[in-house]
């Protein structure tokens, strides 16, 4: 890496961090009740200030959730894209999010039927199991065919099946459960408590550390399995690590915010173009920051554009994300990529 490049990277990273902070602040200030910076600050620091409930209980956790889970989702996509050597892969199109959604719905309904209380650790575990099951199916299919389009189509089908089963389950759930389930199953950052945010932050932090630890073998893996093996990479271990970490990120997002589409697929692409590289050690923080910014902007749009009615987060992420995916596919065709 030349010095010039390194300087460029630092500059873009500084800009991204500034951008993250600005968008985070905007998420707290802007909403159905518009607040001045002074009102907001006093609400943050004093429990008794006028708007402290809005800020502390609603906007702050929500903005933090969008920031953390946006980063997590985009890293989940980045890992899957590295795994399949293809930028069209992502947790939503491969059915991973829907798998997690299915098991979480099941856990919620079962808990309510048995009158048990359910905590976030249990939800994440359920989501992780679902994510792994879906990913397991996708991996089985990827053994049969190298064709990524086939794999993606199968992933989408798995997603549909899981969603259908989820709907089926919801039909049998109690009315009171359905209200919550319905919002969550559309994907939303609202209704997140401070404890939820902390749990999500903890899980994401661990998974980010894990991802950084495999950045070196991932770099070699970009040359394909055979060359990576010749360089001394333990391929089986690396692949397992990628799958588990990616599943953990998706599971964490789905457990807390429901399935969110297109972030995992589109954001890594934006990051790659922004930095002009796909070196993992650069891409890991880059994807996280871009994912945070992307999700915070989408969430702000979702809750303000038709205020007081709120759109589901996936509605907004799809509008921004899907065109990017189409562009990637066309561009790759032009460049002669498969």
């Amino acid at each position: 890496m030349t010095n010039k490049k390194q300087k460029n990277y630092s500059l873009i990273f500084i800009l991204l961090i500034v951008c993250t902070l600005l968008v985070f602040a905007a998420n707290i200030f802007i909403g159905s009740v518009s607040l001045t910076p002074a009102q907001t600050l006093s609400a943050i620091f004093s429990e008794h200030a006028q708007y402290s409930q809005i800020i502390r209980k609603i906007r702050l956790p929500r903005a933090a959730a969008a920031m953390i889970l946006g980063g997590a989702l985009s890293l989940s996509g980045y890992l899957l894209q590295t795994f399949f050597h293809n930028p069209i892969a992502g947790p939503f199109v491969l059915g991973v999010s829907s798998g997690a959604k299915l098991t979480v719905s099941f856990a919620l309904i079962a808990a309510s039927a048995l009158a048990l209380s359910i905590n976030s650790a249990l939800l994440v575990t359920a989501a992780f199991v679902g994510a792994m099951l879906s990913l397991g199916f996708v991996l089985l299919i990827s053994h049969k065919t190298e064709n990524i389009s086939m794999i993606v189509v199968c992933g989408i089908m798995i997603g549909y099946i899981c969603s259908a089963v989820t709907d089926f389950l919801v039909t049998f759930a109690d009315d009171s459960d359905i209200a919550d389930l319905h919002d969550w199953s559309q994907g939303t950052f609202s209704g997140m408590s401070a404890e939820d945010v902390l749990s999500a932050a903890g899980i994401t932090f661990i998974a980010v550390i894990g991802t950084v630890l495999i950045s070196k073998p991932m770099n070699a893996f970009m040359l394909g399995e055979s060359y990576a093996k010749n360089l001394g990479v333990n391929i089986k271990l690396l692949k397992a690590a990628i799958v588990v970490l990616s599943g953990l990120f998706s599971a964490c997002v789905t457990a807390f915010a429901g399935p969110i589409s297109f972030v995992g697929i589109a954001v890594p692409h934006i990051s790659r173009r922004l930095f002009g590289t796909s070196k993992p050690i650069v891409m890991i923080p880059a994807c996280f920051l871009c994912g945070s910014i992307f999700c915070m902007i989408c969430d702000m749009t979702a809750r303000t554009i038709l205020s007081p009615t709120e759109l589901s987060i996936s509605t907004v992420t799809s509008v921004f994300g899907a065109p990017i995916v189409i562009m990637v596919m066309l561009k790759r065709r032009k460049e002669g990529g498969a």
């Binding site: 890496m1 050597h85 930028p87 950084v212 630890l213 950045s215 070196k216 770099n219 070699a220 970009m222 040359l223 394909g224 055979s226 060359y227 093996k229 010749n230 360089l231 001394g232 990479v233 333990n234 790659r272 002009g276 590289t277 796909s278 070196k279 050690i281 460049e335 990529g337 498969a338």
Partner: protein, 247 residues
């Protein structure tokens, strides 16, 4: 340096190569020649530990390959393969840099010594001018030279090359083999190379091994092997066609 003894290998239960033996010493170039599907790539795959052998021995530096760890093997042996790679947004320099993988720390940061090795490998393969080009955007021939640079940068004692010159024009083929020759003679690297260009194999090889139907049918110096009779038999070329094309 590298010695293969009574080697049997194949895919699933099927045996593709049987009872193969040959060896290559430091500073020697050994070429594997023979018809398509004879088992040349298969034996290279076994040597590089991509494929498990069914029976027999592969010694690297007098140590049986099985008892060498993956990380150790990466410092002793590097390969170039026929499979095409398309790493997204990686420059040629970054591809070459991956060759330092066995030597760098946990995060793959290159120190001065690593950077020198990269620079030198690129110089030797005349790829320095491509350093900042994207690997996916350069020509097939240039890619093959970059991959060779990556292999050299791994500082191996053995280089195993599977049809490395298939996409090169004659000028670049000659340049490629000159580089290989220099590496073998100056750095004492043992080179094992599978190839179809028998005219070139005759010039650059110290030893030639003929492979047909998964067996070594003949081996020796280029003078011993490249006789019309042996080539006609190895590739099943009728005499009149051999005369038409080679004489």
């Amino acid at each position: 340096m590298l010695s293969v003894k009574e080697l049997f290998a194949g895919y699933d239960k099927k045996t593709v190569i049987s009872d193969m033996s040959f060896e290559v010493r430091s500073g020697e170039i050994l070429s594997l020649i023979g018809p398509n599907g004879a088992g040349k790539s298969t034996v290279l795959k076994v040597i590089a530990k991509y494929l498990e052998k069914q029976k027999g021995f592969v010694y690297i530096d007098n140590t049986e390959q099985e008892s060498i760890s993956r990380a150790e093997l990466a410092k002793k042996l590097s390969v170039t393969l026929t499979e095409r790679i398309r790493p997204e947004l990686m420059t040629c320099r970054e591809v070459v840099e991956t060759g330092r993988y066995p030597y760098t720390g946990a995060f793959g940061r290159l120190n001065e010594q690593d950077k020198r090795a990269v620079e030198q490998a690129m110089e030797e393969t005349a790829t320095l001018e491509l350093a900042d080009e994207l690997f996916n955007r350069v020509s097939d021939g240039q890619r093959q030279r970059v991959i060779l640079a990556k292999a050299i940068c791994q500082q191996p004692q053995i280089l195993a090359l599977d049809e490395p010159t298939s996409y090169l024009d004659i000028r670049h083929k000659i340049a490629f083999f000159e580089t290989l020759h220099r590496l073998a003679k100056q750095r004492g690297i043992a080179v094992i190379i599978s190839m179809h260009e028998i005219e070139l194999a005759r010039i650059i090889s110290d030893k030639v091994v003929c492979i047909k139907n998964g067996e070594v049918t003949d081996s020796g110096t280029p003078e011993e092997i490249f006789t019309p009779q042996k080539i006609m038999r190895l590739y099943d070329i009728p005499e009149e066609l051999y005369k038409k094309y080679f004489e």
